[in-house]
């Protein structure tokens, strides 16, 4: 199993934001991690990517415990945070080279990986531009490029297509689908259209609790049984929980 999370808990002060969450994602899976705002999606993404330690529970990437061997586990993770935070004063190439160096690449290998990542994310024409001068879509692609630069086995993406135009969304989705051959992918989103387009599995979270974990077809079948669409089922499940 490429990504395993077991009984994760997270508290902010006295508030429990993730409550006994467990999930498993294998290579070939694209898990759509959905939930309303404040459900605990971003916190879970941070815990799985090793950015934030859980209050309790275990995360394993490719069988490696992320708390016991963080460097080794993180070398297998590609993480695309929400809002594409970047070093704005760097050029695209310089930023990707910097990200590559943190993964231990140097010289020709580094240049090759930077070129390939720019190629895959259609960033060639912006290579010499400062990130600050780029459009929102380009910034997101730069952030995506840094997350796939080292060929991660586990790719964790927080709102990957948020703010992109339809063409850019299609390109990113095609890229995600091409990556799943060798990578376990988790996409945190609240756009159900995204789940429909790229995900093979659905994980529904509300108030830190798991409401659904299964195949996309099962989720759709559940919606069909209630004579509604995915958005309708999402509303029924989460509003009931929130009430």
């Amino acid at each position: 199993m490429m990504i395993e999370a077991e009984h994760l808990f997270k508290r902010y002060g006295t508030r429990l934001v993730v409550d006994d969450l467990s999930l498993r994602v294998n290579v070939g899976d694209v898990l759509g991690f959905i939930g309303p705002n404040g459900a605990g999606k971003t916190t879970t993404m941070k815990m799985i990517s090793g950015v934030m330690p859980p209050y309790a529970g275990k995360v394993r990437i490719d069988g490696i415990d992320i708390e016991a061997e963080p460097r080794l586990a993180k070398s297998r993770i590609g993480f695309l945070p929400e809002n594409a935070p970047l070093h704005m004063t760097m050029t695209v190439r310089a930023f990707l080279a910097y990200a590559g160096r943190l993964h231990g690449f140097h010289g020709r290998e580094l240049a090759r990986r930077v070129d390939r990542a720019m190629e895959r994310c259609a960033l060639r024409e912006a290579a010499g531009q400062e990130i600050e001068s780029l459009s929102k879509g380009y910034k997101r692609r730069v952030c995506l490029a840094q997350s796939i630069l080292h060929d991660p086995k586990a790719l964790i993406m927080d709102e990957p297509t948020d703010g992109l135009d339809p063409n850019q969304k299609r390109q990113i989705r095609e890229l995600i689908l091409s990556l799943r051959e060798e990578t376990a992918v988790i996409i945190s989103t609240h756009i159900l259209e995204e789940v429909e387009a790229v995900c093979s599995r659905v994980f529904l979270l509300c108030k830190g609790k798991t409401l659904f974990d299964g195949a996309k077809d099962e989720f759709r079948a559940k919606a069909d049984a209630l004579h509604t669409d995915l958005a309708g089922l999402f509303a029924v499940m989460t509003e009931g929980e929130q009430a």
């Binding site: 902010y12 941070k46 460097r71 945070p81 943190l102 010499g128």
Partner: protein, 327 residues
């Protein structure tokens, strides 16, 4: 180790790219350059006034630069989420903290180096109580213009950061000009660099005093870096200013209350940095050499103090919430 070096270099570059860093340095240099003018309004002790004012400017502006650097590179990074990118790479929290602190210290070292070189030039400009060295004054302000021009050209032609290039040019120009004028003056090659014998300030007296300012600004840099893991810029600045004010007077009162060298006075020195240790204005006024042992002792004190605060920084960063604005 290599990762820490990479991250440190990047943090240093980020600090130097900040327009506020350039503005702070520019303001400090203009003030230091103008002190010889102001000193013409006093009778005697002209060099002392220039020296004291320049050192105070370096120390105060260094303090502000330390807070601004740490707030820009640490708190902002934690707030806007770029820290998530770093922490998702094979980078430990310890490496993150150490590299940020090192990067900030390198940029502060550049800041103090330029200010110290400017102080030396400023003392040479203040020839005596009735005259200024006009050629050197022109060279001094010309260096500011040349640095700005270099930064502007690099920015225009290669889209490189104006601030970092202008600061880099200053970091080269001022020490070089100071060194060359010192050598010319030492060999009596030029009349315009000679000072009045009364106000003569030997380099071997001045340099150790100026070097002590590095330690003071480093300590402030480490303190503000530790605070930046939990505080925004205003809070950080307030706490640093309070520590600066308390640290300047506390030891005097502690010595009065508990006696010099007592446990109470020692405790005060351990808790709040004693800024008086780095302030050698009186020593310079009396043209006294600073003993090497004092210099080494102060260095050890600074290193211990910085190490303790790096420990605090790591402790504060360990459980801090990252990327608050992205939630």
């Amino acid at each position: 180790m290599f990762t820490i070096f990479r991250l440190s270099m990047n943090s240093c570059r980020e600090c130097l790219r900040e327009p506020v860093f350039y503005l702070m340095l520019l303001a400090a240099l203009i003030m230091i350059g103008l002190f010889p003018y102001f000193s013409m309004f006093v009778f005697r002790q002209q060099i002392r006034l220039v020296c004291d004012s320049s050192m105070a400017t370096t120390m105060l502006f260094g303090l502000f630069a330390a807070v601004l650097c740490s707030a820009r590179t640490i708190s902002r990074e934690m707030k806007n989420g770029t820290v998530l990118l770093l922490m998702s790479k094979p980078v430990s929290r310890f490496a993150f903290v150490i590299s940020k602190v090192c990067g900030i210290l390198v940029s502060l070292t550049i800041f103090v180096l330029v200010c110290n070189a400017a102080t030396w030039l400023s003392i040479l400009i203040a020839k005596d109580q009735f005259r200024l060295s006009t050629p050197l004054l022109c060279l001094y302000f010309g260096a500011i213009c040349a640095a700005a021009l270099y930064g502007g050209i690099r920015n225009f032609l290669s889209q490189k950061s104006f601030s970092s290039n202008a600061v880099a040019a200053m970091a080269v120009l001022y020490p070089v000009i100071a060194l060359v004028t010192h050598l010319v003056r030492e060999r009596s090659l030029s009349e315009f660099l000679r000072n009045d014998p009364e106000s003569f300030m030997a380099a071997d007296i001045l340099l150790p005093a100026l070097c002590l300012l590095f330690f003071a600004v480093w300590i402030m840099g480490v303190i503000s870096s530790a605070l930046a893991t939990r505080m925004e810029i205003v809070g950080n600045l307030m706490v640093c200013l309070i520590l600066f004010i308390i640290g300047t007077v506390l030891h005097y009162f502690a010595a009065m209350m508990f006696g010099t060298g007592s446990v109470g006075a020692l405790l005060c020195t351990s808790l709040v940095p004693n800024w008086q240790l780095f302030w050698m204005a009186d020593v310079l006024a009396n043209r006294i050499h600073i003993p090497v042992s004092y210099f080494i002792w102060t260095l050890v004190y600074s290193v211990l103090y910085c190490t303790a605060w790096i420990g605090w920084a790591f402790f504060l960063f360990q459980d801090s919430e990252l990327a608050r604005d992205t939630r």
